[in-house]
């Protein structure tokens, strides 16, 4: 499975590449359909750190994911679910599962779940 990944506050997050329409700069963020992944993960990102935006597709709508400065592409095995002990965190984090990535586990975001949550809020 091909993913786009980014380091957000020390955590590696990934999104299925087939769902990503574009990776752009921060200027296109700030709309209601923007998800700040750092806030989602509960981590602080320094004010001076550059951010990037992934424009992803969920159903017929677009969602903007505010991620870290660098965005990479990688082939990873299919995500495995979070271990049973911590499975409940998947909902909190909007994570579909984990996959070995960049020497650790990357958290593969569940774009559809995030889109639903965003629509409920806005």
């Amino acid at each position: 499975m091909k993913v786009l990944w980014s380091n957000v506050g020390g955590h590696v997050i990934a999104v299925a590449a087939e769902r990503v329409e574009a990776a752009t700069d921060l200027a296109s963020a700030g709309r209601d359909d923007t998800v700040d992944v750092a806030a989602l993960l509960g981590v602080a990102v320094s004010g001076g750190e550059m951010r990037r935006v992934l424009r992803v597709r969920s159903g017929g709508a677009a969602l903007l994911l505010l991620v870290g400065e660098s965005v990479g592409v990688a082939d990873v095995p299919a995500p495995q679910p979070l271990p049973e002990l911590v499975a409940g965190l998947g909902i909190t984090l909007g994570v579909a599962g984990v996959a070995p990535l960049a020497g650790a586990f990357g958290y593969v975001l569940d774009v559809d779940r995030l889109a639903q949550a965003t629509r409920r809020v806005t």
Binding site: V86, G88, L89, A104
Partner: protein
Amino acid sequence: VSESGGRALVSVRIGGTWLGVPAASVQEICNLAGYTALPRAPGHIFGLLNLHGQAVALLDLARLLELAADAAAPASDVQRRVVVTTAAGMRVGLIADQVRVLGEVDSEHWREVRAAVGSRLEPFAAAEVDHTVGYVTVLELEKVLEAACIGGEGASR
């Protein structure tokens, strides 16, 4: 349980406390290396371990059971060990400062819980064992894992 009434245990030292888990529930003992931090997890969840490609949750019993630190404990994560256990339908890595495989412990060495009475450990203690390392508090592992399991909002169950 053996013919002599003994049960096989693996003991783990956490700070100044020795805890025992049934050897039958221990799958593997490995080093704590290359773990991944888990965002929004409570303090007793240490992170995820990559065990042969599979993600295993790491449980910090010191935090969950409020066990006192000990000056003799290793300073770095590199020296710490992980005891991978299965219980309550979960596979979980227990982080330990030191591990000893006790093997069969005869029934004469077992006693009711005394040392752990009144502590955070007491509800999870099944018995105590008198061994060369000192008194080992044998855990009810299923109870421990159920208490450590995370609900939907990131809080302990």
